[in-house]
Amino acid sequence: MKQGQFEQTYQPLWELLEQQIIALESPNRQLSGGELASFASRYRRLCHLHALATDRHYSSHLVDKLGDLVVRGHQQLYRRKQPFMQQMISFVVAGFPRLVRAQQSYIWWATALLYVPGLIIYLAILWQPDLVYTITPPAQVSSFEEMYDPQNRTLGRARESDTNVQMFGFYIRNNIGVSFRTFASGILFGVGSIFFLVYNGLLMGAVAGHLTNAEFTQTFFTFVVGHGSFELTAICISGAAGLKLGYALLAPGNLTRTESLKRASKIAIQLIYGVIIMLVIAAFIEAFWSSNNILLPWQKYLVGGFLWTLVISYFVFSGRGLDTRAEGSPS
């Protein structure tokens, strides 16, 4: 068949399909059910025509036009439906804790990298107070002192609510940003995640040690105990996700490094979904609860203890014994 003949015979078909594709591409798609039903078979026909045109060496002008339609049709046909809410609920209830349990070797490493250096520097500063200046510059140390000095607290009065909203915004931006960086830098063979985990651990330990020496323990620990449960655990998980990327590159096993990275990323990004949820909760607690000065220390410790128990038992127990097929995750 000559090209002219070919075009004459089939042009109506691909023009019809092109119009359907344009209709589907526009943001407010309005196609009737019957038209949609015909889309797939027309698209298959188009693929066939494109292959014929290519094989018969018709002019590149025609082949490229058909090729463009094939690409656009493919994009519409293989659009994935994403029932968001349902996936989200099943992820929170079962998918996330189950994933964390499945990846627990990375979680344990990340936890150790955060807490062990922190604990060491904490004890070291209790023993040698000046060591705090090896971790943080003096200006920062004094700003921390000021922040947690019981003298500076307007006791018995809660912060005004608009300040709380401001701090909520600040914590969201700052903390989630930190955890995203901790995760992403893991792709550098894990080095970045290790750095951020150890650095944050050291900073935490140093501040805690210094404030213990200054006997500001009550203001400091009542402040951090509540949101620490969600925030520190979330940082550990994002570090673990970063370590997973790094490890996939270092030890790809039988796969190519690219393929190994791709598979690890698929799991790691799901951990990050969970991390985002946890950090939003943490920022909320930090802004609206931790800053509240009306409550007595024992009340804060009690709630803090409850939150820690909640987080740990969530990861240990939630989603056990459910049908594995119910496990879903937005992807």
Binding site: H57, S59, A184, I269, I272
Partner: protein, 231 residues
């Protein structure tokens, strides 16, 4: 497909679909992507500035809201547009490129979030140096984020807008020319506006053994005319 036998000649990249069709995709290089990114940064910068100015009028409450919005803009601006606008942020749309999964399907939320989080690493040590070097090391111009997410940035198919080749008359294309070879002829005619007459003659002379010695530049353009149906 003949493009497989000459992988270095151009950047076209064919993906086979379940229908047995080959999706012709053209990966976008770092230059056009940097420009798109620049446009997006400008848009984001303007929005962020306006937002902070307006919301700070509302006091601390406003600042808090502005900080949250700034966070969303910083990390989720590209994700939002890539997922809801068929792989195109405003900057990408402007420059005619878009993100797809590397099987050619539209980008989904997970891969989009992943590739945009890993931007932080691709940016290191400055100005996307890591990303640029990585993208030069593979054929689909993938930066680290794309490698991990299994995504790639491709050109939208150009709508055929053939300029006038400044030559009248048609000439049939030799029957044994493959599609890629025809594309080369057409590309030559299209680019001839940007080439000096000497350079055109020099390039066209390469085809003398195939299409005959008589004024090869005009002959090629006449063949191009017949391909796009001009007279």
């Amino acid at each position: 497909m003949s493009s497989h036998s000459h992988p270095l000649l151009d950047t076209r990249h064919a993906i086979e679909t379940p229908e047995g069709a080959l999706l012709p995709l053209t990966p976008a290089g770092f230059m056009v992507r940097c420009l798109a990114q620049l446009i997006d940064i400008l848009i984001r910068g303007v929005i962020t500035t306006i937002m902070f100015v307006l919301l700070s009028l509302l006091g601390k409450m406003g600042t808090g809201v502005a900080l949250i919005l700034a966070f969303l803009l910083e990390w989720f601006y590209p994700v939002f547009f890539e997922v809801t606008r068929n792989g195109r942020t405003p900057g990408k749309k402007w420059l005619g490129i878009r993100v797809v999964n590397d099987d050619g399907t539209p980008i989904t939320f997970g891969p989009s979030l992943l590739r945009n989080l890993l931007r932080v690493v691709d940016f290191l040590p400055m100005l996307y140096l890591t990303g640029i070097i990585t993208s030069l090391c593979n054929r689909q111009f993938k930066r680290l984020g794309d490698l991990a997410a299994g995504s790639m940035v491709v050109y939208d198919a150009t709508t055929a807008q053939h300029t006038d080749f400044a030559v009248r008359g048609q000439l049939p294309v030799p029957a044994d020319f493959s599609t890629d070879e025809q594309r080369a002829l057409l590309a030559f005619a299209e680019r001839s506006n940007y080439l000096s007459a000497e350079r055109q003659a020099e390039l066209a002379a390469l085809l003398v053994p195939v299409i005959g010695a008589q004024d090869p530049v005009t002959r090629i353009k006449q063949m191009a005319n017949s391909m796009v149906g001009k007279h």
